[in-house]
């Protein structure tokens, strides 16, 4: 299920670089914002792709786990004065525990029940999380403000914020980490095998149940990691993470199931598309149309090509 980089991918990278250079000359801010935002989309989409690729479950509660991570970071900041950067380890671990608990209590029991049951149960989880947060914190947004998260620099006469480049670093780090895990560790290879053929993996003695549990916990931990770095830049409210579920699914679908490298590239490409549309006066309302329009185009093109084979 997890495909390696292919010729097509290199071609896509080349096209992306050419487009980036053109956009960089035309509207350098759009290029910067696009890379920053696209990287964020990618780091959030990677764990969704992992769960979808290995467990075969489309997790509709993905964005809500992101929200949980944001509130956990907020609580550490507001109650104990912990800077978000220092919350990285505790929040990531907390989300791993939450992921494991949710898997054991719910997901585990619907793995063989078909996609509709899986969709419904993850949808139910998303509602429960959202309503729980509402009942504790109401819908009023909270915030964690740090001056460093809005620091900026000027380069060649272009002033831009520097913090969101962290998203690119994290996206690359998570991607490289996942690739190393999948290729260089026994558990990673077992995960890869389960993703390819769970029944076969089981026959050769791999503990498929444990792999599923581990992958789900790891994925939700990555979501927690992403949430920590987002918190200084966003408002925290019960629906804060929700829109990222669809964007993550869109990136996964665009990259192709199991193509982790493709998710980063697709994220940056769509981030740049979005930023270019936003840079055009009156274009803001079209950014989602472009985002999902490009997605539809890519999926249709792929489907037509596969149909011809």
């Amino acid at each position: 299920m997890l495909a390696a980089a292919s010729k097509k991918q290199y071609l896509f990278i080349a096209l992306l670089v050419i487009a980036a250079i053109v956009i960089g000359f035309w509207e350098p801010h759009a290029l910067i914002y696009g890379i920053q935002r696209g990287s964020l989309y990618a780091v959030i989409a990677l764990p969704l792709a992992l769960i979808l690729g290995i467990l075969g479950v489309l997790n509709l509660a993905h964005g809500e786990f992101l929200t949980v991570g944001m509130y956990a970071t907020f609580v550490l900041f507001s109650r104990f004065g912990v800077d978000p950067m220092l919350s990285t380890v505790p929040v990531t671990l907390l989300l791993a525990v939450v992921g494991v608990a949710v898997y054991l209590l719910t997901i585990k029991h619907v793995l063989k029940a078909g996609h509709l049951s899986q969709l419904l149960i993850t949808f139910g989880i998303s509602l429960v999380i959202s309503e729980l947060i509402k009942s504790i914190y109401t819908t009023q947004p909270r915030g964690v403000f740090t001056t460093y998260s809005y620091s900026s620099t000027t380069l060649a006469g272009i002033r831009f914020g520097t913090y969101e480049f962290l998203y690119l670093l994290i996206a690359v780090a998570v991607l490289v980490g996942l690739q190393l895990f999948l290729k260089k560790t026994r558990l990673g290879q077992a995960t890869f095998a389960v993703g390819q053929n769970p029944r076969g993996a089981s026959i050769v003695g791999i503990n498929v149940s444990f792999v599923y549990l581990f992958v789900f916990g790891l994925s939700i931990a990555i979501v927690g990691l992403a949430s920590v770095f987002m918190v200084p830049r966003v408002s925290i409210f019960p629906g804060a993470g929700t829109p990222y579920t669809m964007k993550s699914f869109a990136l996964t679908a665009m990259a192709g199931l199991g193509n982790l490298n493709g998710i980063l590239l697709a994220g940056i490409a769509l981030g740049i598309f979005e930023a270019v549309v936003n840079a055009i006066p009156g274009g803001s309302g079209w950014s989602d149309v472009v985002f999902f329009g490009v997605l539809i185009l890519v999926i249709m093109t792929r489907a037509i090509r596969e149909g011809r084979r």
Partner: protein
């Protein structure tokens, strides 16, 4: 001796029975529909409870206690409409009160028209509601200023401020608006005001020379990146930058402006509500906002001070949005009218609502006047407020001002 004692006991019992008539009497029922999961609806309900408690402690109305029955509309139009039916048919309420969102209230209009009970509605600013209600509903009283009244009051406010402070100008206005109905309606309203101002007419006729706008996707709807829009605003170089979005946009909007080095002389936010503890954020200093009330009003208004202290005493937290004093006003205004009417008879109460004046903790006297369509409109203007040293202050209207304007923003 024994007979005297028996007579005394009987007299005592009779006296006790008479004195408890008001407690045992059938309550006057106020039926409220509020979004309880939202801070606005939650605090409105708490403020209404405070008002009802004070009324009942003072002996009730017409010798009867007041009962508040609250139904959660969950911010969903269909639930809000069903709540009216339930309150009218199951709970048999005497009056309808409460309400926040225009979308929910639009769905409630047909049900309200069906029952034609006296309704004193505190929220719903969209003029679409006024159109839906029409001119014939003499039983319908609306307290919140309509959207067009708010726009006009801001224009009046900036004109007054510019006249009082010649160094402050608002001749170039840039409106950043969220791309949904709320923001787009604001933009269209400003376009109309700008067209009128070109001919020297309307509330901005004396001050506005140039206007531009750009949309953004609100954080509430999955956006939250305002940098492209802010760069367009920077290029326009406005005297007054205003954004019409939601509370979730507030902090990132100001912070991203700081990141870009965008510091317009007047930085105004116009969301329906603000995030919790926005004043604690160092970036809030100097941010201007529109609203009906600020906590600082307690320093200049006795009734505001009373409301503030009693609300905290009863509920243990501070009122955070103007919907709390508006909810209190909602109940107290209706109660004062019932007292003035001396009866629950519909025509008498309507007449009383139209004639009484109520000094509200909002920081204004509430009296009913016709608006564009309906005949019973309450408040007609908002206030211009500013975050100064972490606290919201009223800077206009001047008679309720709690501070001088801090100008320019961010320097």
């Amino acid at each position: 001796m024994k007979k005297i004692s028996l007579a005394s006991v009987l007299l005592l019992i009779a006296a006790l029975m008479l004195s408890s008539v008001s407690l045992a009497a059938e309550p006057i029922k106020f039926g409220a529909v509020n979004p309880l999961g939202d801070i606005t609806g939650f605090q409105t309900t708490r403020a209404m409870e405070l008002a009802v408690k004070e009324i009942n402690e003072a002996g009730g109305l017409l010798g009867r206690p007041v009962e508040l029955i609250v139904v959660d509309d969950e911010m969903r139009p269909e639930i809000g409409a069903a709540a009216i039916d339930r309150l009218a048919t199951v709970d048999n309420v005497d009056f309808f009160v409460g309400g926040m969102g225009s979308g929910v209230h639009l769905a409630q209009v047909p049900a309200l028209k069906k029952y034609e009970k006296i309704t004193v509605w505190m929220g719903a600013a969209s003029h679409q509601v006024e159109i839906a209600m029409g001119p014939d509903a003499d039983w319908y009283f609306h307290l919140h200023p309509w959207d067009y009244q708010q726009g006009a009051s801001y224009g009046q406010g900036w004109t007054d401020i510019a006249n009082a402070h010649p160094e402050i100008g608002a001749s170039r206005i840039f409106l950043a608006y969220e791309e949904g109905a709320f923001g787009t309606d604001s933009y269209l309203a400003y376009l109309d005001l700008y067209e009128a101002a070109k001919d020297g007419e309307g509330p901005y006729g004396q001050i506005l020379n140039d206007f531009a706008g750009a949309s953004f996707t609100s954080a509430l709807l999955g956006g939250g990146d305002y940098r492209a829009m802010l760069r367009q605003a920077m290029d326009f170089d406005p005297d007054l930058f205003i954004w019409a979005g939601y509370d979730a946009d507030a902090v990132p909007m100001v912070a991203q402006a700081m990141e870009l080095g965008f510091e317009p002389p007047l930085f105004v936010g116009a969301p329906p509500g603000w995030p919790a503890n926005f004043g604690d954020n160092p970036l809030s200093d100097g941010v201007i906002l529109y609203g009906m009330w600020a906590p600082a009003l307690k320093e200049v208004s006795e009734i505001s001070n009373h409301f503030w202290n009693e609300y905290i005493k009863m509920h243990g937290h501070e009122p955070a949005t103007y919907f709390a004093p508006l909810g209190y006003t909602n109940i107290m205004f209706l109660a004062e009218a019932i007292k003035a009417a001396g009866t629950l008879e519909k025509d008498a109460v309507i007449e009383a609502l139209r004639t009484i004046e109520y000094e509200s903790p909002i920081g204004a006297v509430l009296k009913i006047e016709p608006s564009n369509i309906i005949s019973n409109q309450g408040f007609t203007s908002q206030k211009i407020l500013q975050y100064i040293d972490g606290e919201q202050h009223v800077i206009w209207p001047f008679e309720y001002a709690t501070s001088e304007i801090k100008y320019p923003f961010g320097r």
